[in-house]
């Protein structure tokens, strides 16, 4: 049963379709992320859900209420939608204290005095800011401002929480800490969250489901592991994490696996599990077809010597080794591409050595050549 339903949502800015007829169903209590690079339409989508932008066409429904339907000339104003929102700049009002900032939505809902004070102190406790009520908002650190913004968005128990890149203004260490806190907070209050980010680590670690957007359209919607390990489109594959791409030719087919002769890297043979074939339709794959095998660096092991009889080994050139304290970083060149592999132990290798890469079968995906 979908809670927030977006149908054919469409919005242009000038000549550009910022959001191009997207459909989404978000469940109650779900942590849903819109992921993409800047200008992909994720923020515009979020703002249309919040009522800060009017869609050109399409509909947005929350539960059994229609929030926006330009076709029916229906638009619920943002102040009537009962959604909390955290802005990228936090947008704390500088002329108010922490307490006044958080109590503002309560005041507008007629909650005053002791009731309001109780709710404010509860929610400040929830975000870990008890005792800072009387501070002026500009006198807080970035992380604290972030928490106030979160408290202000949560204090009136909204139906949906909208987060517009809330972590992007924090420094790296604080961002990691806030990320963990955000997740545990969402699990405690069990609120539906729509989260907009361009950071794949935030998206993968926080979300129940991720929608990856590009040029105003949805590329793929799915659970983090799904989109990461089973990317539906080449864009998603290349956008999330890093990949080695090896061109080859299908040499044999069976129910279990597809055998691929890889070209240019020592004529190795790879066996890709049948389940990892992307877009298997229209006679793909077939023997003799040109294909691409994709694999993530973390699914690749570095090994110094050839073990006879083992498949899925390819030859590569080691370009450089760097010691990073807790790990070693190996830059390897496979075919025409350079990628970085991490290893916790030193392999006693030097730049310029020929190395063998052991590709894990479950990590490989098979794509048509032109993708």
């Amino acid at each position: 049963m979908s809670f927030l339903r977006i149908q054919n949502l469409y919005k242009t800015f000038g000549q550009v379709a910022a959001v191009n007829r997207i459909n989404l169903d978000i469940a109650e209590g779900e942590f849903f992320t819109l992921l993409g690079s800047s200008g992909c339409g994720k923020t515009t989508t979020l703002r249309m859900v919040g009522g800060l932008e009017k869609p050109d066409s399409g509909e947005i429904h929350l539960g059994d209420q229609c929030l926006a339907a330009p076709g029916k000339n229906l638009f619920i104003k943002p102040e009537k939608r009962n959604m909390g929102m955290v802005f990228q700049s936090y947008a704390l009002w500088p002329h108010m204290t922490v307490f006044e900032n958080v109590a503002y939505p309560l005041k507008l809902r007629g909650i005053k005095g002791a009731d309001a004070a109780k709710k404010v102190s509860e929610v400040l406790g929830l975000v870990g800011l008890s005792g800072l009520e009387e501070r002026p908002a500009p006198a807080l650190s970035g992380g604290q401002q972030q928490r106030v913004a979160l408290a202000r968005a949560l204090v009136f128990s909204p139906k949906v929480l909208l987060l517009d890149e809330p972590l992007s203004n924090l420094d790296a260490q604080l961002r990691e800490e806030m990320r963990r806190e955000l997740k545990s907070l969402q699990q405690r209050v069990h609120i539906t969250v729509i989260f907009v980010t361009h950071d794949q680590i935030e998206a993968l670690s926080l979300s129940d489901r991720i929608a990856i957007m590009r040029f105003g359209v949805l590329e793929q919607v799915g659970a983090p592991e799904d989109v990461y390990f089973r990317p539906a489109t080449p864009f998603v594959r290349d956008f999330l994490g890093k990949t080695f791409l090896l061109p080859g030719k299908v040499s044999a087919l069976s129910d279990k696996q597809v055998n691929v002769e890889v070209q240019g890297v020592g004529a190795a043979s790879l066996a890709v599990p049948r389940a990892n074939v992307i877009g298997s339709a229209n006679g793909f794959p077939a023997v003799g077809q040109g294909v691409m095998v994709a694999i993530r660096p973390e699914q690749v092991d570095l090994s110094g010597n050839r073990q006879e009889g083992r498949a899925n080994m390819v030859e590569a050139a080691l370009q450089g080794v760097q010691f990073l304290g807790d790990r070693y970083e190996y830059a390897v060149k496979l075919g025409t591409e350079s990628r970085v592999l991490l290893s916790p132990v030193s392999q006693g290798l030097r730049a310029g050595d020929k190395v063998l890469l052991d590709l894990k079968p479950e990590g490989m995906t098979l794509w048509p050549r032109d993708a």
């Binding site: 102040e79 700049s89 009002w93 002329h95 202000r152």
Partner: protein
């Protein structure tokens, strides 16, 4: 390794060249500057206070006593003029500040039509001299001959501009509203739109958001604008002279001029009245400075293009309202002044000969107008050049150097903004007539130049200082590292980089000098009269049609110059931050 060691020794051998001129050099510069500026700014004011205890008139041996104070404050007219100033200030701000805030909000944050055009309209109104707008409205709202009144009369209304409400109206039409819109619109525009959006998401309507979030978040700017207006209360002069004096209504500034120009002159009483305000203002300046210097709320993110608030059905009414205000502020007074110069009798359309160019013929051959134009140009150009060159050096020293005494110099530069023009005029009058050394300068244009430069010190130093801060240190440091000294760096690097700003300061000073009256009215003679003073005299003598031609000349020298400068990309105007 060897070569490196060599270089080090070489370095040690060279005498370390200090960053700025040697300390005693810096101290010398500062001593001269502070002494000069102090004498220029403070000495005339001190003379006012001293001579309020003097019962002899200017240039006579001093006789000290409390007589002037006693007489001044025994006369109810003096108290009344003070109260009138305050009353005008309060009523004017009660109307102008809320209107200014509302219009700025409409222009900067809503989808009103023609926002840029209207903002330009308010800029024009700001540039138009008070004298021109007041005169224009005077022609329209004269109780017996006013054109607008002749339209209103059938409705049973006759709005007399020679009244308290008439003075308020003239102020609103002159700079009361436009200055505020000019200062606040950019500030409203820079505000982070997500603060308003956060309020909407919290459940507030656009109007609640305006009252509870937008305006309170803008309070630092609003306070600055308000203080600037408060401090101008006692400076207001032309409007009250034209519209108040004819019916015996005096404010602070017109009263001082009246006392000083009486026969026999009551300069000592004028000084007593001046001292009262001087003491009040000097107490007020530190407060003003602190409030203005205090860091603003950081309301700028520059992240998202500021979201415009949709006015819905109010879009057209708001556009028409602001458009009408701009029409009243710009078009009406300009048309009125031009109309006045071409009509046989202004407002009389049923005369046998309604239109005439007689007055233009008369004016263009009138030696007084040509003399006035020449005087105005000399004064305005001198003020512009001296202002830009000299105060760029002052600004540079204040921002860039570590010389001792910068605080004192800065304070001296802040003072003139608070001193009503009439007072500095009175002080200079005393200085030039009372000091034998200076006495020969009385009656020369030099005296008026001195007064004109004085009036703009604060504005010039503030603009130049802001620019030096913005410019950053490194360009100069690079010049110093390349081996150039202080003066070479100043003239070869700083000066060219600042050229545009200095032209801007020069243009502003030119405009202000060309339209001022209050600071020079006590210093000018019939030979050194400027166009503005001439216009006041012409109105007082009843030659309104000729006066409108003089006013047109003044408008050309102010608005005309400003428009030309603007077309070259100069941001002619003032800012609140």
């Amino acid at each position: 390794m060897k070569t490196m060691a060599k270089t080090e020794t070489a370095n040690i051998e060279v005498a370390p060249r200090s960053w700025f001129p040697p300390l005693d050099g810096g101290t010398a510069i500062m001593t001269v500057l502070i002494a000069f500026m102090g004498f220029y700014v403070l000495y005339p004011l001190t003379l006012i206070v001293i001579n309020s205890f003097n019962t002899a008139t200017i240039a006579e041996p001093e006789v000290y006593g409390l007589d002037a104070w006693r007489k001044a404050f025994a006369e109810p007219g003096i108290w009344r003029s003070l109260w009138n100033s305050v009353k005008i200030g309060i009523v004017l701000q009660l109307i102008a500040l809320p209107s200014g805030i509302f219009i700025s909000w409409l222009l900067a944050r809503t989808n009103i039509y023609g926002a840029n055009l209207f903002e330009f309209g308010f800029w024009i109104s700001f540039i138009l001299p008070n004298l021109a707008t007041t005169f224009g409205w005077m022609l329209l709202l004269d109780p017996s001959t006013g054109l607008v009144n002749s339209w209103l009369r059938p409705l049973g209304i006759n709005f007399d501009i020679y009244s308290f409400s008439g003075i308020i109206w003239a102020h609103l039409m002159a700079n009361g509203i436009s200055t505020k819109v000019m200062l606040m619109t950019p500030a409203f525009r820079r505000m982070d739109a997500s603060m308003e959006e956060a309020s909407r998401m919290s459940g507030a309507s656009p109007f609640t958001t305006l009252l509870r979030i937008t305006i309170p978040a803008m309070t630092p700017v609003i306070i600055v604008v308000f203080l600037l207006s408060v401090i101008r209360i006692f400076s207001s002069f032309e409007t009250e002279l034209l519209l108040g004096v004819p019916w015996g209504f005096y404010v602070y500034a017109t009263k001082i001029v009246d006392l000083a120009r009486q026969e026999p002159p009551l300069v000592n009483q004028a000084a007593a009245l001046g001292s009262v305000i001087l003491i009040f203002l000097i107490a007020f300046i530190p407060i003003q400075r602190r409030l203005i210097a205090r860091r603003q709320f950081t309301t700028v993110t520059g992240q998202f293009k500021p979201k415009i608030i949709e006015l819905g059905i109010w879009r057209w009414p708001a556009t028409i309202l602001v458009g009408f205000i701009v029409f009243l502020l710009d078009v009406v007074p300009i048309l009125s002044v031009f109309g006045g110069s071409f009509m046989t009798r202004f407002g009389f359309f049923n005369l046998p000969k309604t239109w005439t160019i007689e007055y233009w013929k008369m004016a263009l051959s009138d030696p007084r107008i040509l003399q006035g134009l020449q005087n105005t140009l000399i004064i305005a150009f001198s003020a512009a050049i001296v202002g830009a060159l000299f105060f760029s050096l002052v600004g540079y020293i204040l921002v860039r150097t570590k010389y001792p005494g910068r605080g004192i110099l800065d304070s001296i530069c802040w003072l003139p903004s608070a001193i009503p023009g009439v007072l500095s005029g009175l002080g200079l009058l005393w200085m030039f007539l009372g000091t034998p050394f200076f006495r020969p300068f009385y009656g020369t244009l030099f005296l008026l130049v001195i007064a004109s430069v004085l009036g703009g010190i604060t504005l010039s130093t503030q603009i130049l200082k802001a620019n030096f801060v913005q410019l950053g240190n490194e360009l100069e440091e690079a010049s110093r590292m390349s081996g150039a000294g202080f003066w070479r760096t100043y003239f070869k690097v700083v000066f060219p980089l600042m050229a545009q700003t200095m032209v801007l300061v020069a243009v502003l000073k030119f405009m202000f000098a060309a339209q001022q009256t209050s600071s020079i009215i006590l210093l000018a003679t019939s030979e050194t009269r400027t166009l503005s003073l001439l216009a006041l005299d012409q109105v007082a003598a009843g030659y309104r049609e000729v006066a409108s031609i003089t006013v047109i000349f003044i408008m050309l020298l102010t608005l005309g110059v400003a428009l030309v400068a603007r077309s070259f990309g100069l941001k002619v105007g003032i800012r609140a931050d």
